[in-house]
């Protein structure tokens, strides 16, 4: 077939389709299309999504060279670009503090940027310039390893829906005021902060993800929160702070989230919740809570067990429960207060919707077994209960199995799976 006579297959497709195709290419390939033919010269230039990473430039061992190439590539792309830029993403370990980034942000702030993702390298953290705070149309902001310092006159991002700050140096007041001044904020993720004490007021917040050392979190105004995932690390002074704290963390954290559907807690989350005075009956019932996952629950700590019980007994529609234990087996073997389960444990609660229970890292200590017994006895709709023993427990497995066999099951179709690794 003579190529000269064959019709051009693709250049006459509507620009929207061409852009769809180009958006799916890595930025380098997309820009290269400019030399395909005269029609293709500027097809890429109106792309509204620009995603840059180290694959844009030729890799080499010379770090400076890669940095240089990347900077030049991005600058030139921006310079040749026409029209609004809605999404700008830069993920690199090579660039850190670089004056070009300031210029790019200035350029973007003039081009209606809506989504900005800056993931920069280790080393000296990039100081976010003030032009970022002029991006009025920003709906998504992801910053990794930056210094963030809003000017006093900053009134918030009025369109911001998603905020993700990961290893960002910013004062707690600034974060609090940033969160409260973004009225449309739906998704918030804060990770790797040091000893952060935070009150979150976000009337539209739906998704919350926290990870790091948090001294104090209070969800003051988050009525629409649907899902949250919290991983709390502990340091010595946070532990000390906890010891002196008197407010009830459980209430402060979970007291006003009536619409919660998913709760995931990692590391010291249950411990965090267990601190403070127990104010008795919870004011709120988690009617929508369907999935609860709590990791590293220490069953030798009665208070943590109470937290778990409190949570699940106030969730009538709970469907899925996942608990991983982190019991100090020596302490847990003693198991004081074992009679709690017979005496004080609420016996009238039934988990009517609970279908799946997964217990992992079980050591077979008394409180763990009592908890499993409690669940089995009160879950008429249970379908699967899977138990995975902790890898360090080799001898006690047989005993665990023997005990498990004896437990009464409220659900006739419940399957108990004992998962050996």
């Amino acid at each position: 077939m003579d190529d000269v006579l064959a019709p051009d297959l693709i250049s006459d497709l509507p620009q929207s389709i061409i852009e769809t195709i180009l958006t799916r290419l890595p930025i380098r390939d997309a820009v290269r299309t400019s030399i395909l033919s005269s029609k293709w010269r500027y097809k890429w230039a109106t792309l509204t999504q620009l995603v840059f990473d180290e694959k844009c430039v030729i890799s080499s061992n010379d770090r400076c060279k890669v940095e240089d190439s990347l900077v030049k590539f991005i600058t030139r792309t921006l310079f040749l670009h026409q029209g609004p830029i809605h999404k700008f993403q830069l993920t690199t370990t090579h660039l850190q503090c670089c004056p070009d980034i300031d210029q790019w942000l200035l350029f973007l702030s003039r081009n209606d940027i809506k989504e900005l993702v800056l993931e920069l390298g280790e080393g000296e953290w990039f100081r976010v310039p003030s032009c970022l705070f002029n991006c009025k149309k920003l709906t998504r902001l992801d910053l990794f390893r930056c210094e963030f310092d809003p000017p006093p006159s900053f009134k918030g991002f009025l369109c911001l829906k998603s905020l993700n700050l990961h290893q960002v140096l910013v004062s707690p007041e600034a974060i609090e005021s940033l969160i409260s001044s973004c009225p449309l904020l739906e998704s918030l993720a804060l990770s790797y902060f040091d000893s952060l004490a935070l009150t979150i007021r976000a009337p539209n917040l739906k998704y919350l993800c926290l990870e790091g050392e948090f001294k104090d979190i209070c969800l003051e105004n988050t009525p629409l929160l649907v899902a949250m995932s919290v991983a709390m690390y502990m340091t010595d002074d946070i532990a000390e702070h906890f010891e002196q704290s008197s407010g009830c963390n459980f209430n402060r954290f979970l007291g006003s989230v009536p619409r919660l559907e998913r709760l995931i807690g990692h590391i010291y989350f249950t411990k965090y919740l267990s601190i403070g005075d127990d104010l008795g009956r919870l004011p709120v019932t988690y009617v929508h809570l369907k999935v609860v996952e709590l990791n590293q629950v220490s069953f030798e700590d009665m208070k943590e067990i109470l937290v778990v019980l409190r949570l699940i007994t106030n969730s009538p529609n709970l469907r899925e429960l996942q608990i991983s234990g982190s019991s100090n087996t020596l302490a847990a073997i003693d198991a004081p207060d074992l009679d709690f389960w017979d005496d004080q444990c609420p016996s009238d609660c039934t988990f009517k919707q609970l279908k799946l229970v997964k217990m992992t890292d079980m050591s077979g200590v008394p409180h763990e077994m009592e908890f499993i017994k409690f669940l089995l006895a009160n879950s008429p709709a249970l379908e699967t209960m899977s138990i995975s023993p902790c890898v360090y427990v080799m001898d006690g497995r047989l005993n665990m199995l023997i005990e498990l066999l004896r437990f009464r099951r409220a659900s006739a179709q419940a399957e108990i799976l004992f998962i050996q690794d």
């Binding site: 064959a6 297959l9 497709l13 769809t20 390939d29 029609k39 010269r41 600058t75």
Partner: protein, 359 residues
Amino acid sequence: MSEVDMAVIKPEMMKSYIWLQTADGSIQQVEQEVAMFCPMICHEVIQKGMGSSKNYAISLPQRVNPAMLSLILDYCRFHQVPGRSNKERKSFDEKFIRMDTKRLCELTSAADSLQLKPLVDLTSRALARIIEGKSPEEIREIFHLPDDLTEEEKLEPLKNTTDDPRIRLLNRLYAKKRKELKERQKLKNVEVEEERVDDRSVDDLLSFINGDNGDSKGIKTSKSKKKNRRRKDQQKNTSANEVLKTHNKELNGLNSVCCSAEVGQKSRGGVGATSNLNDVEDDIFTSKNELDDGDIDDEIDPALKEKIDREVEDFARRLNSDWPERMQEILSFGHERKPVHFSLNGNGSLRRYANSEQR
């Protein structure tokens, strides 16, 4: 007809059909739930009440020919069934999309005109996968794109990768040079000067390619200088003006990524540079002058090639420093102009070629 259709044709069940007419005039009827999967058809039926009979068949957009319509209806027929799992849908899509590129493009166009977004996404993804990672020549061949950009235009956007860009660059420049040589011989200019000019310009090429901050800039300036030189030869004009113009061009060339070839030819003081900042990229699509010489790449003299390699490495090493100083030198040298050609050497000093003994 599919099994679904067969099962449903029972006397007590009246299936409703929609009538569709393609641009070539042929009319067909399609099961309603299948056709309604396309938003455009749905709109026509609901808003305008069309499609209920042969006379009121919905006219489909021109981009939908019968073959494409049949494909689209296959897609709709599968996906409009609500009970399918994601896995099933995905594997159907994967098989569905296996077709030659021409049909893929036609299908994209047809699906777009029927506003069938999921299919447009699917085909766009497939087309993107075809384009990704391929060289421009390959892409042009697949899609029958005309290679109608001049080389300067190709340079204009960002750098693109080729293999051994410096070698290709040099190959092309030398090819150009060779062609020029031939032409000059035909014109029968003053031989001595010509030879001198030619030797020098070859050397100039080398240094410009590798001196300063970039291959392209080197090319540009060398090109402009070449052109200047030629004109000078023809006019036998060695006035300071000409020299200054060259000088300016050099400066501008150094400052810009690329110039259009016209600059070189018309000896303009200003360079019509079309873009950005300094670039030192190694990967670059070479620029040609209006001479097209794509097929002379292999004729480069191996010894020369080796020399060039060495020089390229050498100059590349020196490239990364002394930029401001070099600028100073260029600027300061503007005053002591003689009708000889000079070029910026990689070592930061201006070197003048006065005779052909140099290299």
